[in-house]
């Protein structure tokens, strides 16, 4: 992300060009991508597959209820999937998956949103089987974050979309409109 100080261009120049360097950015995005072997796992474990599906649906519902951005949704599912793969869930504790979903959504909202509801309110949106106390969710948030190695900036499909729309030259309002709706 280089910004040279040479050009005395009009003010908007600075911020249109600032963050957007060329191929470097794409290389860096591609370099940061990791394959999550979870998908193979899910094929052999239908119970986990079902639990994941339920949890993702729940996260998306809450996401739309609070009009969180698309990126928040993508991030929460990303955190959840990464956590699900790294963490060995015990089958006798089905609530763990739901607790992880609440924690992942909460982390994503804190990363991305301006207005973040309280943990209790986050769970009131949809009939979920469990209602967790805030301190329990906090524990899970910490467990999720440390399991993810505290990495909260994964490249997402939106990062690529964002990159390509900018490359196509639509630097204006439309582009942002498009991105915010995508």
């Amino acid at each position: 992300h280089f910004l040279n100080n040479s050009s005395p261009a009009s003010p908007p120049f600075l911020l249109q060009s600032d963050m957007f360097s060329d191929e470097q950015e794409l290389t860096s995005l591609l370099g940061k991508e990791h394959h999550n072997p979870l998908s193979t796992c899910l094929q052999t474990n239908p119970a986990l597959d079902f639990a994941r599906r339920e949890a993702v649906e729940w996260m998306l519902k809450v996401n739309s209820h609070y009009s969180f951005s698309a990126l928040t949704a993508v991030l929460s599912v990303n955190y959840f999937d990464r956590f699900l793969f790294s963490f060995r869930f015990q089958n006798d504790k089905p609530w763990m998956v739901q607790l992880a979903a609440v924690a992942c959504l909460s982390i994503a909202a804190k990363v991305e949103e301006t207005h973040v509801p309280f943990l209790i309110d986050l769970q009131q949106v949809d009939e979920s089987r469990y209602l967790f106390e805030a301190k329990t969710i906090k524990k899970m948030e910490i467990l999720v974050l440390s399991t993810l190695g505290w990495k909260m900036n994964p490249p997402t499909p939106l990062s690529f979309l964002d990159y390509f729309t900018r490359r196509l030259g639509s630097k204006d309002h439309l582009c942002w409109e498009f991105l915010s709706k995508s």
Partner: protein, 370 residues
């Protein structure tokens, strides 16, 4: 919806995967405490390396893991630059005591912050150097990308503009304390507290009791900080709110219905209105400033918040960037000193931060989108 039975949700038994224990470090002494929590100087037992441990404060139960810590970690994890404090790792304390388990951020140890240095006799920095070092400014770009006001996020200086700049004994400067970036306004809260900004950087409309305000408040703060950097000391160091307003009026002139339509209707206008006429003396007081800087300052320190429209804010911010990039950089000798120039742009709508820092040879500015 069923409540899980107490005791059933024993998340405590799970180890915090991926994070080491704080027991890997031996705490030597507490070196700081503030709104952000305690900071300790510590030694890593295995290597003997000295580090700073910053304990994450977790007071607000309803919020869960604090949003400020999440943002700070997110930003620091992404930034690797010689002028940004290096977050080495995050460690957890063993959870014997149920909910008291602490989370610590492990930083490289820095010898001083700027505030401490300035008070210290016999320090190894000369005053002009300090001035150059304080050449950091917080540049708040408000809604430039979305043009749609939703909320305002401001990186607040804690007690003063300097204390989140750290310096090691080689004179290297680093930015720290990104956790102070906070959201203090959003559309869900039309009425906001008017005691949000550190007094010295608080705009007149807040001091006069307005509770409906917009991005102009940040522009005032940016103006104050910008002037402070050029002036070498805070420009409105008020002790309390009446004195703060008085200092502002002395420099910017007294507000009236001509220069600020509607000011007489602000809640505390009658209480605080100046008793004698006061002229705007900005250009006179800061006549030694660069012409462009002065022009910019005039715009940012306009009394009437309505005159600081969005477009103006945008233009000012860009001018500010340009001033530092083009103007100041090439004209004066800033290039000679690395670590003189750094800025933080915050695109608040999506809490997108960007930070700009000089490249290693100071020949250009690198913008980090976060």
């Amino acid at each position: 919806m069923a409540m899980a039975a107490p005791g059933q949700l024993n998340v405590n038994e799970s180890p915090s995967w991926g994070s080491r224990s704080v027991d890997c470090f031996e705490k030597l002494e507490q070196i700081g405490e503030g709104t952000y929590g305690q900071v300790y100087m510590a030694r890593e037992i295995k290597t003997g390396e000295i580090v700073a441990l910053k304990k994450i404060r977790m007071d607000n139960e309803r919020e869960g893991f604090p949003i400020t810590a999440i943002r700070e970690i997110k930003i620091l994890k992404k930034l690797h630059h010689e002028n940004v404090i290096n977050l080495k790792e995050i460690v957890t304390s063993p959870d014997g005591n149920k909910y008291k388990g602490g989370i610590y951020m492990v930083f490289e140890y820095m010898d001083h912050d700027l505030t401490g240095l300035a008070d210290r006799p016999g320090m190894r920095f000369t005053v002009p150097q300090i001035k150059l070092l304080t050449g950091l400014h917080y540049c708040h770009v408000n809604q430039v990308l979305h043009r749609d006001i939703k909320g305002v996020l401001l990186l607040m200086p804690s007690k003063d503009t300097c204390s989140n700049l750290l310096i090691d004994n080689e004179g290297n400067l680093k930015l720290a304390d990104f956790g102070l970036a906070r959201s203090f306004s959003n559309e869900h809260n039309a009425n906001l507290t008017n005691r949000v900004i550190t007094l010295w950087y608080r705009p007149p409309e807040l001091l006069l009791g307005t509770t409906r305000y917009g991005p102009a408040v940040d522009m005032w703060s940016v103006g104050c900080i910008f002037a402070e950097l050029l002036h070498g000391k805070p420009i409105f160091p008020g002790k309390d709110e009446p004195e703060q307003l008085n200092k502002i009026f002395e420099l910017c002139g007294a507000p009236d219905e001509v220069n600020w339509p509607g000011v007489s209707k602000t809640p505390w206008y009658n209480q605080f209105k100046p008793t004698r006429p006061m002229k705007r003396r900005l250009r006179e007081v800061f006549r030694h400033f660069d012409r462009h800087a002065l022009e910019l300052l005039e715009k940012m320190l306009t009394l009437d918040p309505a005159q600081k429209g969005q477009d103006k804010l945008w233009i000012c911010t860009c001018c500010l960037c340009r001033f530092f990039l083009v103007g100041n950089m090439s004209r004066s000798n800033l290039q000679a000193n690395t670590a003189t120039l750094a800025g933080i742009c915050i695109f608040h709508n999506s809490l997108k931060h960007s930070i700009w820092l000089p490249s290693a040879d100071s020949s250009h500015i690198i913008l980090y989108a976060l």
